[in-house]
Symmetry: none
Subunit: 372 residues, 2 copies
């Protein structure tokens, strides 16, 4: 297979730091091409390696349409052992070319992220955080067989425990309404105008990452002028954001189609004005509280009887947060609607609970819970 042989053939003489190819895409295998770069020349690495998804057959949505799966050859590995070997090889090169105070980010899902994490730790990297990218709009689980796979994980690691790495704490805090940035980030998936499409309208790359994600990564852990390497460059999200944030970048990519798309895309991206480097629109999700959460956290006990404001209807809270009135069962909203024969109903204001002072809308309990 390609990678291993390429490594063996890698030239011993590497270009000097001054001759590093900045702001370009290197066509080729990531391990072989990293092998040609000098030691300790990179400030930050962002890597989006294959996830090794191991998909089975076709998957259809409830409406009968078929899910466009990631079935590309580059995501296929025989066994975990093969994947581990691949991971250790590219991580070893990545570690060699990373400056002593540099950091690496790797993104993945439960299919591969544990292998990556162990690879990083065993190679001597020092994990700083695992960051959860909470997708605002993930693909649902169509068959109702598992929890919606609604996040991906990034591991952020320094080259060693002693590294004096870059972390722009104040920039992150500013980006987050003046409270510390947490290890979970809610961002939408890549879609709309940002998503690259071929002429036939199909997506150019199956797993294009959103620029907002790279924006936050780079703003957190690099400085203007830094050299950012992406060994799995794809359609160049890392390059586009690096250019926008005035970082230098190097991309390594094998597929000519992706390289062409990335070139065009990055050429169309303008560096930000110095003055504009401060922020980027972010969606701050307003807090949503499910009724079930109040049950789980003991605010409302299973078995509690609710009624409407005029005590005409009653229903009992079950342990899963559903409401039951005789043969009717469902959410607080649905049962309220069915009882009234209405098309919809706001269960938060419709249902009440008996307290010492009289009836209290369950919305009041929610507010209390939110207030802590």
């Amino acid at each position: 297979m390609g990678a291993l042989q390429s490594i063996a053939k890698a030239p011993r003489a590497r270009p000097s730091l001054a001759l590093l190819p900045f702001d370009t895409i290197i066509a080729g295998d990531c391990i072989a091409e990293m092998a040609k770069l000098p030691d300790k020349c990179i400030d930050m690495i962002f890597a989006d390696p294959p996830y090794n998804l191991q998909l089975g057959g076709d998957l259809f949505r409830p409406d009968g349409s078929q899910v466009d799966a990631v079935d590309d050859d580059w995501d296929k590995f025989d066994t975990f052992a093969t994947y581990d070997r691949f991971t250790r090889l590219w991580l070893a090169e990545a570690r060699r070319i990373l400056k002593d105070d540099g950091t690496i980010w790797v993104i993945g899902s439960y299919h591969n992220i544990f292998r990556v994490g162990v690879g990083l730790q065993d190679a001597g990297f020092w994990v700083l955080n695992d960051i959860v990218w909470r997708k605002a709009n993930p693909m649902p689980n169509f068959k109702g067989t598992r929890f919606t796979n609604a996040h991906e994980t990034m591991i952020w690691a320094a080259k060693s425990a002693k590294s004096r790495y870059t972390f722009n704490y104040r920039a992150m805090k500013a980006l987050n309404d003046d409270v510390q940035m947490r290890s979970d980030w809610e961002l939408p998936i890549c879609g709309g105008q940002e998503r690259l499409k071929d002429e036939d309208g199909t997506k150019t790359h199956p797993t294009q990452k959103p620029e907002s994600l790279l924006y936050r990564v780079m703003l957190a852990a690099s400085r203007p002028g830094d050299i950012v390497l992406d060994p799995f460059f794809g359609t160049g999200t890392t390059g586009a954001v690096a250019r926008r944030l005035r970082r230098r970048w190097i991309g390594i990519e094998r597929e000519p189609k992706y390289i062409a798309a990335a070139h065009e895309r990055i050429a169309g991206t303008l560096p930000l004005d110095e003055s504009a480097m401060e922020g980027m629109p972010e969606r701050k999700g307003q807090k949503r509280v499910a009724f079930g959460l109040l049950v789980e956290s003991g605010v409302i006990a299973p078995g509690t009887r609710l009624c409407d404001a005029r005590r005409r209807w009653h229903a009992e809270v079950k342990m899963d947060g559903s409401l039951v009135h005789e043969t009717l069962a469902g959410s607080i909203h649905k049962v309220g609607a069915m009882l009234q024969g209405a098309p919809s109903c706001n269960g938060w204001s419709f249902w009440h609970i008996e307290e010492a002072g009289g009836l209290v809308a369950i919305d009041a309990l929610r507010q209390r819970h939110l207030a802590g």
Copy 2:
């Protein structure tokens, strides 16, 4: 010392399933005590293994000898190898005693969760989800050197890829305001009245998990009467929630202090009323009703015309319960699929019948029939 020697000494004769010690805490080392349990006797395992070798005391060198404390001279690899060895040992026992259709949950942080994930995958477990517990109120990062560590990760895995595991999809959906539950759960950390304190006011256990977390875990992946094992029982959150949700439980714990606290706590926990335990019924496993039965029993008369929700297609019910549209004939599912050109179709939700108030899905007729 414990575990390794105990394993070697583990008796070959294990108690029969009927003699399993339910609803009790076994005092001892988790590996040694699991080794005494029979094969395939557990429905669900929840494990909160030590993250930190120093705190847990579960220190074994690769050769099996015990280590008193973490020595600064140790290099990281040795430490990781030791932790991996410990992980593989307890996971092997866990896998042996788990029923073929059982599942395991393991919670951890970036310090250990990658090692656990690889251990699970290498042992043959089949990862179903990684679940992120987003802490509503995490400890801030005081030094401002990293992102606030605001989450922990749980891995949910079946014994094998072929397992027919329990997932109470509808209960989870009910708990989440009628949208399917995602892989990221926001729950508060354990505090307030729930947090166990010693007489001097210090917390009894350093990492007591909130009951709301276990509540959701158990509600999702087990059934009343199931046997839930927690090999790192601590102060018994798993036992308390199991009792509340009418599951049977087994805890293994080494520290007498934790065992005492757990006993007292669980004794003070009451099972939910039977009536509160009836939430949203899972469709899976319900009695199946053939469409023909509704025709036979007169709920739907032969000759009735059915149509889809938007009245685009029509078909007629025949006396044998088949459906006919022009030259097409077959089951409600097959005719619906053929008309839409879809690979499959749920005829119960696709086909409707004209009633006084408008169109009604034939599934509603089925539910009525089932209700009697």
